[in-house]
């Protein structure tokens, strides 16, 4: 269906934007946009059998990821008083090129997986895989703790996209449970970031390796 195509395409663009971004504020907002897009994706895939449960889950997901998480993360940034600049191990150009390679690899892999007979399945799976890879890449190559939270969120988005596309009906409890899980994780990570910065005056996780002894 053409509408889901466009949403998947926009997801790819947001991932690429994250790879090339230089400022933390822009990255946080991009992840928020991703969350909203995923909610829209959920609504569109189930648009012919909308139940209250599905509607509830999708809308709460959009609110949580689009509004609450950015608020939490911006609060953490403000309290930690960090410089709002992404500090990567791998520069933006190499990240972008790695992202394009990852996209190609995801498309190739998705074609090889045995998937159910849905017209869009392979593109959805490819984009989900791509998001997971991008999330992992962000966690590995960014120094600041906030970037790693963002990477975790992107991975979460990828897994969620997997679920949306392939699982027709999942129990309401499970879905709400997953959302709660993510919410708690981000909340806790926000607190930890604040504590780290208070203790060490920075949130550079690379420096944390000095703690080993």
């Amino acid at each position: 269906m053409i509408n889901t195509d466009i949403i998947l395409f926009l997801l790819v663009l947001t991932n690429l934007r994250l790879l090339g971004a230089g400022r933390l504020g822009a990255s946080v907002r991009t992840v928020a946009v991703q969350g909203v897009l995923l909610g829209a994706l959920a609504l569109l895939t189930h648009h012919d059998h909308l139940t209250v449960a599905v509607l509830l889950v999708a809308l709460s997901g959009m609110v949580l990821k689009g509004v609450v998480f950015p608020w939490l993360l911006f609060r953490a940034l403000r309290e930690a008083e960090v410089e709002r600049e992404v500090e990567p191990f791998v520069g933006p150009i190499m990240s972008l090129l790695a992202g394009v390679a990852a996209l190609g690899a995801s498309l190739w892999l998705a074609r090889r997986l045995p998937l159910p007979e849905s017209p869009n399945a392979s593109l959805l799976v490819a984009v989900a895989l791509f998001s997971i890879l991008v999330g992992l890449f962000l966690i590995v190559t960014r120094k600041k703790a906030i970037s790693q939270v963002l990477g975790f969120l992107v991975m979460e988005n990828g897994i969620y996209a997997f679920g949306v596309g392939l699982v027709l009906e999942s129990p309401l409890l499970v879905e709400l449970g997953v959302l709660l899980d993510v919410f708690v994780a981000v909340f806790v990570m926000g607190i930890i970031i604040f504590q780290i910065s208070r203790e060490f005056d920075h949130i550079d996780t690379h420096e944390l390796s000095k703690l080993r002894d």
């Binding site: 466009i6 790819v12 690429l16 150009i93 972008l96 090129l97 992202g99 498309l107 392979s122």
Partner: protein, 310 residues
């Protein structure tokens, strides 16, 4: 005598003549848009024509350090861009000259212009021109893959290697079918247009501070008719690249040449206004960020190609 076989080439020649006549107007539109954003009245729309006329009637001052290379630079540059103009289609209408693979010739003719502009700049023996020349070659080395890849995506879509055939098959249905891919190509080509024509965010055509310029500083020592050639060169390059972009964005292929051509011209005016808006609302990127932008454009073109592979 049956006039039919002569009409098509004649019309194509007329379209090339349109390019020659109307290209300085695009510069005027951009400047007027910027002025209106700044709350001023701005220069007259036809200012570039007045500038060209004035410069052509002036004498020239040449630096004693320069040689025939300096005098040859503007001429060879303009000749190359004129040749490139004959290759570019106007919307769905074919160009004066078209053959399989002419997109490669198009890109390399622009490269020829660049080569001679750069060595003319180095001929003056001034460090300002050297600075502009060195940045220019860096950025264009990165922009050229973006241009060729974007055109490759379009070639793949239309199944032909000639600019005219590519553009004549880009109808509204194409947008419905592979909209996302074409949108990515539009983004990539837009970045290439901004880079090649020295617009913000790659370069600022308005400041005359040597430390921040790229194109403007390379032509600092030219005067008189040489400067007129260079100004016209800039206008033609803008025309040529916006024609490529407009043909993509305005996919009206009704079969009536006047409608198609008129729609494309309208599209080019809109693009000029958009460039003016971009220039008024953004600042120039830091020099370290420009390669990232250009590689980003190439990446978008590659993503477009990857998407078209499914």
């Amino acid at each position: 005598m049956n006039p039919a076989p002569f009409i098509q080439p004649l019309l194509a020649l007329l379209r090339a003549g349109l390019a020659l006549a109307l290209s300085p107007l695009l510069l005027g539109v951009i400047n007027r848009t910027k002025a209106s954003f700044a709350g001023r009245n701005g220069q007259p729309l036809l200012q570039s024509y007045y500038d060209l006329w004035k410069l052509l009637h002036k004498g020239a001052v040449y630096s004693r350090t320069t040689t025939w290379v300096f005098r040859a630079g503007p001429i060879i540059g303009l000749a190359a861009v004129l040749a490139a103009t004959t290759l570019v289609p106007l919307g769905g209408l074919p160009s004066t000259v078209s053959f399989s693979g002419d997109l490669v010739l198009f890109a390399y003719l622009l490269g020829l212009t660049r080569f001679f502009t750069v060595i003319a700049a180095l001929d003056t023996g001034s460090s300002f021109e050297g600075m502009g020349a060195s940045r220019e070659v860096t950025f264009s080395a990165l922009a050229e893959p973006a241009l060729l890849l974007g055109l490759a995506a379009l070639a793949r879509q239309s199944g032909s290697l000639s600019l005219s055939s590519i553009y004549s098959s880009l109808s509204f249905d194409a947008w419905l079918e592979v909209g996302p891919m074409l949108a990515l190509v539009v983004a990539a080509l837009m970045v290439v247009l901004l880079a090649e024509n020295a617009r913000i965010p790659v370069d600022d055509p308005n400041t005359h501070l040597e430390l921040t310029m790229i194109h403007e500083v390379m032509v600092l020592d030219h005067s008189g008719p040489d400067l007129a050639f260079i100004l016209y060169n800039a206008a033609l390059k803008l025309w040529v690249l916006s024609a490529l972009l407009a043909g993509l964005i305005i996919p009206i292929r009704s079969g009536n040449p006047w409608l198609d051509g008129g729609a494309c011209l309208l599209g080019m005016l809109v693009i000029a206004i958009i460039i003016g808006i971009i220039e008024s609302s953004m600042a120039r990127l830091r020099l370290l960020r420009v390669p990232q932008l250009l590689v980003g454009a190439s990446a978008l073109a590659v993503v477009a190609l990857i998407l078209s592979l499914r």
